[in-house]
Amino acid sequence: MMRYIWPFVAFVVLAGFLYVGLGLNPHEVPSPLINKPAPAFTLPQLHDPAKQFVSQDMNGKVWLLNVWASWCVSCREEHPVLMALARQNIVPIYGLDYKDNRKDGEAWLRNGGDPYTVIASDTEGRIGIDYGVYGVPETYVIDKQGVIRYKQIGAVTHESLQEKILPLVAELQAK
């Protein structure tokens, strides 16, 4: 009897590893920027390129930085969720229009509505590299000290808002 136990145990262990491993999403690469200061940047605003968006001006506020683009397909799925969040007035959403041109970005917002307080336009994608962006949409939760506390890779959904983002925002705002 015992001689059959060990191969069986080995099989169960291997199956366990495979079950967990195959369930992971290889496109979710944990960001090393969590709990690090958000890289500072100054970029022209999308709606009014004469004006600048300065990230340090956000110190003292908890805010979301949502990286999006008019060419991004998952952003379409995410957009209604952001619109609903903006209507609730819980936390300001700032946009980073990533590798996009102004006309397309603005046209996109005219179609779907504009949930953003201010949008910075990163036409060259340089700030995106600073933030470790590798697939839009991505959303960062940044606290009052300007530290990145959470990064949502891929579209923000109602579930991720309720389970992760909003509880974290409430906790950070109370500090």
Partner: protein, 155 residues
């Protein structure tokens, strides 16, 4: 006419290639150094391709970033550190030795040791369970006769 058309079609790729070589023509030495570095870095969009070979937009931007940092005089290590601080150890094709990568580096050797230990254990057990054969004097004689037959008995 037909031949001329075929010839023209064959020549088409020559024109399409011209745009791609621009960066290389600018500074071949720097480009070579950049490619050498980028070959060991992972493109995060198409994850099993290197930054050097990937055609994705992000890889393009990252190659531009590496090129610019090299022009600024940063060393290869400084550039790697910059990318790791942005994208994590995942960008490295050669994972660094850290507490959480110990299993990755030494796991195979541990498995080998476990296998060897198992083998030794099994062999010892087998040796103990095999019946020790004790031949009687008569049996030994017969065995010897069979194993070393006298020369003349062969005929």
């Amino acid at each position: 006419m037909k031949h001329l058309l075929i010839l023209l079609i064959c020549l088409l790729p020559a024109f399409s290639y011209a745009g791609e070589a621009k960066d290389l023509a600018e500074d071949p030495v720097l480009e070579k150094r950049m490619i050498g570095l980028a070959e060991n870095l992972r493109c995060l969009v198409c994850q099993n391709e290197s930054l050097a070979s990937s055609r994705s937009e992000l890889a393009n931007d990252l190659r531009r970033e590496i090129r610019e940092q090299m022009k600024k005089g940063m060393t290869d290590q400084e550039i790697i550190d910059y990318l790791v601080s942005r994208y994590g150890d995942f960008v490295l094709f050669d994972p660094p030795m850290k507490s959480y990568t110990l299993l990755l580096w030494y796991g195979p050797f541990a498995l080998l040791l476990i296998g060897l230990a198992g083998l030794v254990f099994q062999l010892r057990k087998r040796k103990n369970t095999l019946p020790e054969s004790q031949l009687s004097a008569e049996q030994a004689q017969r065995a010897a006769a069979l194993l070393n037959p006298p020369k003349d008995s062969q005929t």
